[in-house]
Each structure stands twice: as structure tokens, then as C-alpha cells.
Amino acid sequence: MGTVPQGLEMLRNYRALADGEAARARGPEKPKWGTTILFLAPAGVLLLVFLIYPAIYTVLLSFNRGRNGVFGEWVGLDNYARLFADPDFVNFSTFPPSGALWNNLLWLVFYVSIVIFFGLILAVVAARVRYEAVLKAIVFIPMAIAATALAVIWKFVYSPDNIGLLNAILGVFGIGPVSWLGDQGIVNFALIAVGIWGSVGFATIILSAAVKSIPAEVIESARVEGANERQIFFRMILPMVSLPVSVLAVTLVVNVIKLFDLIFVMTSGGPGTASQVIAFTMYQQAFGAGQWGYGAAVAVVMLVLLTPIMIFNVRRFRSGSVT
């Protein structure tokens, strides 16, 4: 158990990476074409065939009816028009709004903020007890488990009959039973709770490294100067963790946009269409309903949502700080 904190070496290594830039400039003066091609060709060919060319193809297909995945009838923006008119995709005419895109927004707001909040609290509080490593390992275990298994674990906890743990606990207080996954107003929050349960360990480990990078003497001298613990938390710890928090937030946002397995296994987007998310819609439209052009349009929406993060990463990388 004691080895969890050591796992942060790699994260620290990231900081040292920028230093490698200067060293890397060395190398043989003339390019050796044969060897270069030998080293790069397998990766290059696979990336071109499986990622770059398909991405361009998908963008084009999203402007086509695209029956069976091949180009046929060009329809301009029709797929996108239908997509944004589809109440299952996004619907602002009701209150609260609904649809897959709206559900992703719910995930974005609640999942990202609560994971960071719990991760920060646990990183700070657990550092003060002797069983820190054990606790961190326990919270981290869900990271090792498939989303499919998480789904089974929590479907069982949420079970609406007398064998579901959550309803049994509420029953003690005379509440329920609640149909956690069967009620349109609750289902998204029940799923987000599972997502949070799965990700807090990861956030704790990342933030714990940042919290511990603040030298103990600095905090101690602040105490001697008369700072109280609240001031130490808000004025010293919080500013120090702002960079790792932003990196963590980006990661969690990407998780939300790509979210699929958990939803597919736990609810299949149900009840009805209440818990669909965008990656689920893509899968269902393209492979369930055979609407390839329409599915391609959903995939392009995902790509567009991820583009700001792509630009952010490339910019960061060019400016020399690597994450």
C-alpha cells in the first residue's frame, strides 16, 4: 500500500520534460532516411489509415445521407439541422432542459466539480493521518475496474427491491424505495454519483502530489507567524494546486465528452432517452439505427467539442511546458 505516493514520480517527471528540449537538439547531422522510415512507418501508416483519413471521411460523410457508410446523396447541413432539432439530442423547450447534450452538460457541471472538490479535501485531510496510503489505495481501486463492472456493482446498490443497499438504508429512515435508475429526474444524478465514485481516487492521487510539494517548513513558518488553518488552506494550498487542478479539470472534461461504457451498461440511455449522452447517441444512431450520416454528424460534434482542448494542448506543448 505504501507505494501509491511513489507513483507520482512520473507526474513529477513531466515537469522535467521541458529541460529535455535543449538536449534533444543533438543528433546526427544528416537525416538517415532508411532508418527514419523504419522507425516511423508502422506508426505513420496506422495513424493515417485508422485515424487521420477516417476523421476527414467522417466529416465529409456528415454532409451526406451516408447509407451503409458510403457516399451517396449530399444533404449539406441537413444532418446537423435534424440533430439539433431532435429533442433527444438537445431540448430547451422543457424545464429542466433534456437531451444527450444537456446530460453531458449536467455531467460537466456536477461530475467535474465534485470530483475535484472531494479529491482536494481527501488529499489535504488524508495527509494528516497515518493510514493515508491505505485510504488512498481504497479510494483508488475503482480506477482499476472496468466501467462495465462498476455498472454491475452500482446497479446492485441501486436495486429498487429489498436487496438494494441504498434503498435498504433509506428504508431504515422510512424513506423510499426510490427507483434510482428508473426515474427520469433522478437517473442522471444517480449515474453521475457512480462516475464520481470511480474518479475521486484519481483526483486524490494527483492533487495529493501537489499538496505535498508545498514544503512543510513553509506551512510551519506560516503557523508560527499566526496564520490559522483556514488561511493556510485558502492562501497557500489552494494557489499551489491551481495548475494541477486545471490539468485535472481538462482530463475530467475529456472523460465527460467521451463517456460511454457506464451509460451503455447501466441504463442504455434510459428510462426512455433520459440518460443518453453524446457518445451514446453516436453509437446508437450509427450502429443501432443505421443512420450513418447522422451518426457521423454526432461524431463531428464530439470532435468539435474536443477541439478547444486539442488547441490548448498543442499551444501548451509549443510553449515548452508539457503535460
Binding site: V4, G7, L8, M10, N13, A23, R24, R26, G27, P28, K30, K32, F39, L40, A43, L46, L47, V49, L51, A55, Y57, V59, G69, I121, L122, V124, V125, R128, V129, Y131, L135, I138, I141, M143, I145, A146, A147, T148, A149, V152, K155, I163, L165, W197, V200, F202, I206, N228, E229, F233, V247, V254, F260, D261, F264, V265, A286, V300, M302, M310
Partner: protein
């Protein structure tokens, strides 16, 4: 929560009242952390207990009622044999091993070229790799599937494991190249220079120096990729189309959609899926955490 954040150990109050407050806060911390520990352990333990209980018992009482505890291995026997989970376990291994080893080799080679070889547009090409990190696999599904069906129907890629191996390998590349390149450039340049002056070729430097000294980073990435593929459902849904070749994630998903409340089967199936990642977690925890942390940007 700020109550917990403040007044934690470390500061040493001098007055008795101050000490009493500190002790109270300490107790609050322990209670809070114990609660966290319980919330994170109990759901999994509950399913573990359930996987060993007879079907009739599971339907009758909650797993926490230990007065009614009879343990059996029947659920595992049934799910392995009658529900085909043994075959699914073997399929998961067949899918995972090549889908881990192929990207390891291909990424290490490309990462070496990006770190220690000179060629035009090296850094621009690497920026493309960084950009590709954020391209969702969904944009590749339709063309890749269509291509496998229409252009290469004779290869029968979708009937066997070929499609899923290729897809997992290709989609792993941007991250793997990025990660390993970032490790390789931290190696001491003098070491590489010295080998070059001695007349070593790039292939030799790669095999004899860079790979051996990078074993920890390669292992961390390997474990990350292994668990990624082992735990994956989406790619298996899209790229494995022969039902006798389904991995465990997909077998459990169809169990769930067929028998939504047969918890004796679902619990045993879920633990068969979890057992390998948990063993990896407890035995190689250090590499495991490193791999996942490094994988955080994926």
C-alpha cells in the same frame, strides 16, 4: 468541509481548551475518513459476498444480513460453463495481449525517432501527434468499419480478432508515442552521443540503450494499455462482430440486458472481469498508478 480543513494536526495548541478542540477535530477527521473508506469499499464487497451466495438467498435477503449466510461456488461454475464466461475470459486475453504488445513496440520506435533522430518537420509531425490525442475514436468508426467490409472483405477482419487488434493498436498510438517520447528525451544525451561516436547504429542504440534504460516507463505504459484494453467495452462492441469472440465486458453487458436481476450470475461475472485488474493493482501497484497517472490525459 472547511471545519475539517482547519484545526487539523500539526498546529500544537498550548491551552487545555485548545487541545480539547484539536482532539475533537481529530475525531471528526477520523470519522469522516472512515465514512469515505466505507463508501468506497462496501459496494464492491457487497457484490463480492453476493457472488458466493445461492440464488434463492440473494433474492430473499440483502447480502448484509449475515444471519442468512451460506456460501457456494455454484454461481461461478454456472457463469463460466453455462453462460460461456470461460470462453469470454479467453477471448479477453486474446484481444488484450496483442493489443498491448503491438502498440508498445510501435510507439517505442516512433518515440525514439521523435526524440533522437533528425529529419525534416520532426517537431511539426510531433505536434500533429499531440493534436491527435484529442481526436475521439468515434470519428474513425464508420470509415474503418466500412473499409474493412467493402475494401478488404476477404480478410474477414471483423469475424476474427484482427479488426479489434488493429483498432486498439492504432487508437493507442498518439498517447503512447507522446508518453514514451516525453520519457526518452529525458535520457542523458551524452549516453546516446557516446554510442554514436562508437559507431552504433540507431537500431542498436534503440535496442541496446534506450529500451533497456526505459523499462520503468515502458512498463507503466504497458500496464496502462493492458488495463485499458482489458476493461474496454466500446471497441469490442464495434469491432468484434462474431458472438463466439466476445470479450468479458461484452458478455456481461449482454447478461445484464438478458437477465437484469439474476444477480448471482452478474456478480460472479463481474468479479471474473475484475480479478485480473485487481491482481495487477495489488501486485504492481507502483507501475499501475504511474501508468494511470500518465494516462490521465488520454
Amino acid at each position: 468541509m472547511t471545519v475539517l480543513a482547519e484545526g487539523m494536526a500539526g498546529s500544537r495548541p498550548r491551552t487545555p481548551a485548545g487541545r480539547a478542540v484539536a482532539a475533537l477535530n481529530r475525531t471528526a477527521i477520523h470519522v469522516f475518513l472512515a465514512l469515505i473508506g466505507l463508501i468506497w469499499l462496501v459496494p464492491t464487497l457487497g457484490l463480492l459476498v453476493t457472488s458466493f451466495r445461492p440464488r434463492a438467498d440473494i433474492q430473499a435477503t440483502g447480502w448484509w444480513e449475515i444471519s442468512n449466510l451460506h456460501l457456494t461456488l455454484d454461481n461461478y461454475r454456472q457463469v463460466l460453463e453455462a453462460q460461456g464466461m470461460l470462453q469470454a475470459f479467453v477471448n479477453t486475453v486474446f484481444i488484450t495481449v496483442p493489443s498491448t504488445l503491438l502498440p508498445l513496440g510501435i510507439c517505442a520506435m516512433a518515440a525514439y525517432a521523435f526524440s533522437w533522430m533528425r529529419f525534416p518537420f520532426r517537431d511539426s509531425l510531433f505536434l500533429i501527434v499531440v493534436g491527435l490525442l484529442m481526436v475521439p475514436v468515434q470519428v474513425a468508426f464508420i470509415p474503418v468499419l466500412t473499409g474493412m467490409r467493402e475494401l478488404l472483405p476477404d480478410l474477414q477482419l471483423l469475424r476474427g480478432f484482427g479488426a479489434v487488434w488493429l483498432a486498439h493498436t492504432a487508437f493507442a498510438l498518439p498517447f503512447g508515442i507522446f508518453l514514451l517520447r516525453n520519457f526518452f528525451i529525458t535520457l542523458p544525451p551524452d549516453m546516446i552521443e557516446a554510442a554514436r561516436i562508437d559507431g552504433a547504429s540507431d537500431v542498436r542504440i534503440f535496442r541496446m540503450i534506450v529500451v533497456p534504460v526505459s523499462v520503468p516507463a515502458i512498463a507503466a505504459y504497458g500496464i496502462f494499455q493492458f488495463l485499458w484494453v482489458w476493461n474496454d467495452l466500446l471497441m469490442a462492441l464495434v469491432f468484434v462482430q462474431d458472438s463466439t469472440k466476445y470479450p468479458m465486458t461484452r458478455a456481461i453487458q449482454s447478461l445484464l440486458s438478458q437477465y437484469g436481476t439474476e444477480w448471482h450470475l452478474l456478480a460472479a461475472g463481474a468479479f471474473l472481469l475484475m480479478i485480473v485488474p485487481l491482481v495487477v493493482f495489488f501486485s504492481l501497484q507502483r507501475y499501475f498508478v504511474q501508468g494511470l497517472l500518465a494516462g490521465s490525459i488520454k
